[in-house]
Amino acid sequence: MYNQVANSIGAVVVLLMAIGAVFVFSASADIGQELDLQKFYDYPGLRQILFFPLACLILFTAAAFDYRRLRVRRGWMKSPTLYLLILSIALLILVLIPGFGTRINYARRWFRFAVGPFKVSFQPSELAKWASVFFLAAFCEKYGPGIRSFWKRFVPACCIVGVVVGLIIIEDLGTAAFVAVLAFLMLIIAGAKWWHVLAPLPFGVLAFVGVLVRSPARMRRIAAFLDPEKWSDSVAYQADQSLIAIGSGGLLGKGLGGGICKYGHLPEDTTDFIFAIIGEELGFLGNAAVIGLFIIFLWLGILVVVRCKDRFGQLLAGGIVLAIGIQAALNIGVVTVVLPTKGIPLPFVSAGGTSMLLSSAAVGVLLNIARQSARNPTELESQDE
């Protein structure tokens, strides 16, 4: 059951989550705060420490679960991926209804409900992201080379993804664009002709620009991205603060816990901008280590894809690795102000239970793929029958 690639991936992810827990705790520091342990769930730093072991548990539980049950070879109705997709679409619709969804920072992206004494929040777009990956992997595997047929296969896949993206785009442009890009990449990997992708591209661009133009705040964000210091008092404040945090860290940083930007100067320091806090406190060394871990993760991911003899496994592993890798790259790009500000968390590191637990589950599936592929394929087949 045990194989080196799988163990290495597990180690890398656990390490990233550990770094995350430490830095979310550090970044959530506030002056004059009295810790009331009865309400520990209200503190992001403590919440992350709770999520860390939970995520590990989910990671290894998912790893024990045979990923091939996610296939749709035996019919759509028997596949959990379809139900997952339907569930996430339903939740995406539900979250838009004011009574159910909760607004945070002017965006209705969350469900909030009480579990016992804890106020739990849940972000359905995170679920939808993974559901799309799983669904597309299953879809492409079922129809195999048929995906090359534009009208019969490619367009329906695009339509389904389009529904998901369309629902997300209402409240969260960044995640929507990310899901769309991810979907196209998976389709291309699955063998879709690359010029097929050009067909829905105008729709995507149209939707993107439409949303952009409709919201002046987003337009300003783009303008601010081009010159952060000029707009540093208003829209580019966050980007500018992020640069200050990273830049002032220097090569070795101010020391763990020694950062100042987290005291209100840098907004969203525990979530989207955690990478800046790492840069401030541990300097280039810390940032390079995190980037290094993601590169190792990507490399190991490529190994899993290459070694996997099963087409569904390949597609699924590719999707998962791509999803995490792209997300990490986007996040770091935003934090280092190479990209305009978008609300995309750094996988495993940023505070946020939904993202962390679901990502862990996805990586758990990846681990399972790695382990399965190491076994004798014939043995696999017989077990399957």
């Binding site: 640069l243 830049g247 100042i260 390079a288 290094g292």
Partner: protein, 554 residues
Amino acid sequence: MLLLIAAFLALAGRCFYLQHFKSDHYLARSIKQQRSRSPRKPRRGTILDCRGRVLAASNRIQIIKAEPRIIKDLEGVSTALAPIVEMDPQLIYTLITESKNPGFAKIKPEADANQCSAARRIHGVGIESDWLRYYPMGSLTANVVGFTSSDGRGLEGLELRYDKQLRGSAAQNIFFADVYRRPIRLKQKDGVLSDGVGIILTLDATIQQFARDELIKQYESYEAESAVAIVADPKTGAILGMVCLPDFDPLEAGSTDPNNFRSRAITDWFEPGSVIKPIVMAIGLDAGAVRKDETIFCENGSYRGKGFGRIGEYRGGFGNLTLRLILIKSSNIGMAKIGQKLGKEKLHDGLRLFGFGKKAGIELPGEVDGLLWPAHKWTGYSVTRVPFGQEICVTAMQLVRAFCILANGGRLIRPHIVKAIVQSDGKITKLKQPPPPVGYVVKPEVAKWVISDAMVGVVNEGTGKRAKLERWQVFGKTGTANIAKEDERGYSQSDYIASFVAGAPADDPAIVVLVSIRKPNKKLGKGYTGGVVASPVAAKILEKTLSYLEKLKG
């Protein structure tokens, strides 16, 4: 996916660029926005009288302040704060909204510990400690001590003159601050905090009280324009009391006529009139121009001559008078003749030696020189007028110095009001006393004769009879000076300065007192002369002060 790895490597490069090459730039920017300073204010020095009574001191107070820029729920904060500081929420609301400083709105200046700890819990409300200057003696010593502005700068009196020393040196702590500028942790300490030095005065609050009580009575009953009383120790030149009216309450300095701030005893000059006669007589005797037993023909009320016009007396004509009687009867003609015998050079130099025409050098701001024309500018008028106190302008402090010299057997003294300095570590440094009495302005026997013979006679037999005391032999001299008209030549016939200079006991003077009351209302019909208006005040001050000093000695 290899593309993605390349992207990560590029991002790592970006980080390296930001953190290595641009690090200094961002570090500078981070320091700019993340640094907050908190001033550490030194305690302003205490001002004490010669017996250690507090005249001015600074107490630590806690200020409850609001930070307008971080308060979002203005009404909530106002209503939450109102019951704690026992203020109207509407008032707090206006205080916060109308503050010019976005980081500071003073809500309550003197808060107690309970109020502070309760207020601290409200978001946007903070505590700051400060010093509050207070003056326990109120207006009693206001003209001497002065006062400070609300931010602790000395504006008048000793507070102004010794501002630098009293203030001490401030320091500041530089903090890392959060976005609301609340300190996170100390970055560095800047400067050395040292409290201001304390000042011990020669002034005695009790004597000051005697002088003020007596002076204010007369000042009010004669509806005078202003009044000055100075009590000095002739042996050292120490000022024991110095009252100038009208005065002010330092707590209400803001709403007071600024004219009342000044110490008139050193800032206002006037033609002294007859009080200067004993000094001129001493100069004449010392120079040998006249002899003690000489008799001078004082005409019959009118003395006229080429080059000096006509000189009259206040009252009647005196005929032949001895020097002693010239003082007792205060004959202007007699004094004019002494002046003529002396000549302008000797008279001018003598008055210079007694300190006229230059600052007495007391440690208070705003002192003036007075006016003593140089000898070459003197005319025939001058040499006959100066001896009875015209064509010369003096301050009350200069008169006190001259009579202290006389009472001190002709030895020089320098009037002073600061006795010692208390360093912030508690060490007391006595100030260097005025130059040792090496110089004799006049011979001791001349000084002795003027004091204990002529000036005693003034009190016992002459114009200063009202200053007689039972237990002590008082010496003194009256003066009723016309005030020169402002708009034309000559003197006003309704405006006078009534003065009396006195001292006791005559055989070994312990105290010299000068009382000078400007423009007593002549229309009241109660009199206006130095003998009537000023001498009773001087006598009461002398009596009370002498018995007080006697008790102190046990």
